[in-house]
């Protein structure tokens, strides 16, 4: 059982790793790199708790074989914060009370992060489409949607001065 060599950048840091042929990206992030902000809910691509950004796009790290992500740039919830400053999306989630138990939150933030990179001023429908793969069992979706729209608006105003 030969291990597979991969070289990936996670939150700006390069990692050279030897992974098993069956390891998923989420296993590498959580068990090898100890980045446990990325959660495993269903492990079948339904719940979105494992959502991370790969080369700027939202992907499910439970459905990604680690061996296949060689050469890619991964961003996890640990990497969106700027120093001790929360990312505007994180701040918006706190401000709008879009968090209850918090298990789905990292996945939602990462799905929203990829959306805002691609579309800085999304419509409500675009936000809901981007969150369609993220399940929440506590607060529901109204507040996360509100938080993401508020964040996009604030970031747009800041950008335009």
């Amino acid at each position: 059982m030969a291990k597979v060599h991969i070289s990936i950048r996670v939150n700006g840091t390069r990692h050279e790793l030897a992974v098993e042929p069956w390891e998923r990206l989420v296993d590498v992030l959580r068990d090898r790199l100890r980045l446990t902000g990325t959660k495993v809910g269903c492990g079948e691509g339904e719940c979105g708790a494992c959502t991370v950004n790969m080369d700027g796009k939202a992907v499910l790290s439970c459905l990604l074989l680690a061996a296949t992500v060689d050469g890619s740039e991964i961003l996890t919830i640990e990497g969106v914060q700027q120093g001790s400053e929360l990312h505007p999306l994180q701040e918006a989630f706190v401000r709008e009370s879009a968090i209850q138990c918090g298990y789905c939150t990292p996945g939602m933030i990462m799905a929203a992060h990829a959306l805002l990179q691609r579309e800085p001023s999304p419509t409500e429908q675009e936000v809901r489409t981007a969150l369609a793969n993220n399940l929440c069992r506590c607060t529901g979706y109204e507040k996360p949607v509100k938080a993401i729209l508020a964040c996009a608006k604030a970031m747009g105003e800041e950008h335009h001065g």
């Binding site: 030969a2 691509g45 499910l60 990604l64 074989l65």
Partner: protein
């Protein structure tokens, strides 16, 4: 969480010829991986060997005089976003791509994967059926072209032989005056669930008379199928409420769905008529 998906070997071939020879030499449990969104769910089927084709330059959409060619490892989101499919008869492909699972899954799921997984409810086979696409396979014997309607053999079974891989999907030029549409019924408006019934239609008509009608249906047989009886009913006839309804009922009659956890066979048959009639109406409206 324990994952039961436990392949023992992983290969990253340098080209398709090498990928083909690894697959040809592997056991029956050798599988190709591109995005992995279907393969990583195969927990009980004992995948032993994985051949990674995600970095062989198979993610492309090219247009030439033969039509439009898609590399097998092109992501579903790239198809959905491509301006080549945003209008005209190719719209049916963009609509199907945009309805496949969720935006997050579409970022990794590939066109070739959706075809080779050969789910009876898969979305992308249907637009490719009505556009009469041809698939280019590569194997130990070289390349061969397979019409898309001959590709699917049974539930999760394709016509690819041992050591063969899907390389490219070729869509021939389409009549300018064609109108197309894709429709999909899911439970409870959830984005993630697969189709209860899905359908694609292509119509070519002149002065309201049908010159070509192609209707494809999914989740109503072990493989995606064309509704040939319904198509024949429309040929050469005036397209109106009456003939559309007649064709929709013919499509329902020739569908052979099963009862499962998503819907009963009887419900699926009724929904075939609804989806086909709506897809025909929309396609007619879209005929230039």
């Amino acid at each position: 969480m324990v994952s039961f998906f436990r392949p023992r070997e992983y290969y990253r071939p340098k080209n398709l010829a090498e990928a083909s020879s690894i697959l040809a030499a592997s056991s029956e449990r050798g599988r190709v991986i591109a995005g992995g969104t279907d393969l990583l769910l195969q927990k009980s089927k004992g995948v032993e060997c994985i051949v990674d084709i995600s970095k062989l330059g198979l993610d492309y959409i090219k247009e030439n005089e033969q039509g439009i060619c898609l590399g097998a490892a092109t992501t579903v989101s790239a198809v959905h976003a491509s301006p080549l499919f945003s209008s005209g008869p190719y719209l049916v492909l963009s609509e199907a791509a945009g309805s496949l699972a969720t935006a997050t899954i579409r970022n990794k799921a590939t066109v070739g994967g959706n075809l080779c997984n050969a789910s009876p409810a898969a979305d992308l086979p249907l637009p490719l059926f009505v556009l009469e696409a041809t698939l280019l396979a590569v194997g130990p014997e070289g390349e061969r072209r397979i019409p898309v309607h001959e590709f699917f053999k049974d539930v999760n079974v394709t016509g690819l032989s041992k050591g063969e891989l899907l390389k490219e999907i070729c869509i021939p030029p389409c009549p300018e005056n064609a109108g197309t549409c894709f429709m999909k019924l899911r439970r409870h408006m959830t984005a993630i669930d697969i189709a209860v019934v899905n359908a694609a239609v292509l119509l070519v008509c002149r002065s309201g008379i049908c010159e070509t009608a192609r209707i494809a249906m999914g989740a109503v047989a072990p493989t995606p199928v064309r509704a040939r009886n319904a198509e024949m009913l429309l040929m050469g006839r005036k397209l109106n409420e009456h003939t559309i309804q007649e064709a929709a009922e013919a499509a329902a009659a020739e569908s052979k769905p099963i009862d499962d956890l998503r819907a009963s066979a009887a419900y699926r048959k009724s929904m075939v008529a609804v989806l086909v009639s709506r897809a025909l109406e929309t396609s007619l409206r879209r005929c230039p």
